[in-house]
Symmetry: C2
Subunit: 146 residues, 2 copies
């Protein structure tokens, strides 16, 4: 008894896309032989982009809870890709930064990012691609702005 339901609803579509892209990234990371998950890669990218910072600031920027980030940093620190140091201006706080070893991994991540972007973009024109990007960012705002 089919029914008036659309399984291609926007939420499902985005969720599907995210799952497929993550699987694809996973495969590429596997192939590249760098031992980080997509989530860890994201943290590395943010640190690389903004530089040494306090964990709470970093968590805010990435959009994660402090605790969630703490776990990621634990793993990245164990892998020798991130270093935590006490913040001299606040003994509660810690600063997170990349280690020199992270550079190689980051190079791979950037490369993979480009590949994925290329695959996603397909034959969209630069203009279409930028508009799509802007629209998705706007939508993200709708859901994160509360």
């Amino acid at each position: 008894m089919p029914r008036q339901v659309d399984p291609a609803g926007f939420g499902f579509l985005v969720a599907d896309l995210a799952r497929l892209i993550r699987a694809d990234i996973d495969r590429r990371i596997e192939a590249a032989g760098i031992g980080v998950t997509p989530g860890e890669a994201r943290v590395l990218v943010y640190i690389a982009r903004y530089g040494k910072a306090r964990q709470n600031v970093l968590a805010e920027r990435i959009g994660l809870e402090a605790m969630t980030l703490s776990c990621y940093l634990d793993r990245l620190e164990r892998q020798g890709l991130v270093q935590r140091s006490p913040d001299p201006s606040d003994r509660r706080a810690k600063l997170a930064e990349l280690t020199p070893e992270a550079e190689l991994v980051l190079d791979e991540i950037v490369r993979i990012g480009h590949e994925v972007r290329q695959l996603a973009r397909g034959d969209l024109s630069e203009e279409e691609w930028l508009r799509l990007h802007a629209q998705l960012k706007a939508i993200r705002q709708h859901f994160s702005g509360e």
Copy 2:
């Protein structure tokens, strides 16, 4: 030491979006008092859309592994929303279908889907919205078609 890295890469953007939308859907489901997760809702929607079907067919349609679907169906069956019955034409196979109780839940899911769509869409025109949808579907193809 900032670096030439874009933390708004397409993959991250989509992943973020998926996470935020799922959290939003979670909140709405919570508020609606129906006890299903977004993943379970997805399964219900697919069954509603295509009707009674074998599990392997259903898994294929949703894009899940047979085992993953099996777990979902276990939970949905326990909640009394789905019913499994032997396929008369193949004793290995089982057919999954919705129970009458699922109708109420499905109504809520459809309503939530509309709300989410509205929130996502914002002030995009019908034309822009349809184009965005089509572009995302095309991109999904790029990643699922392999």
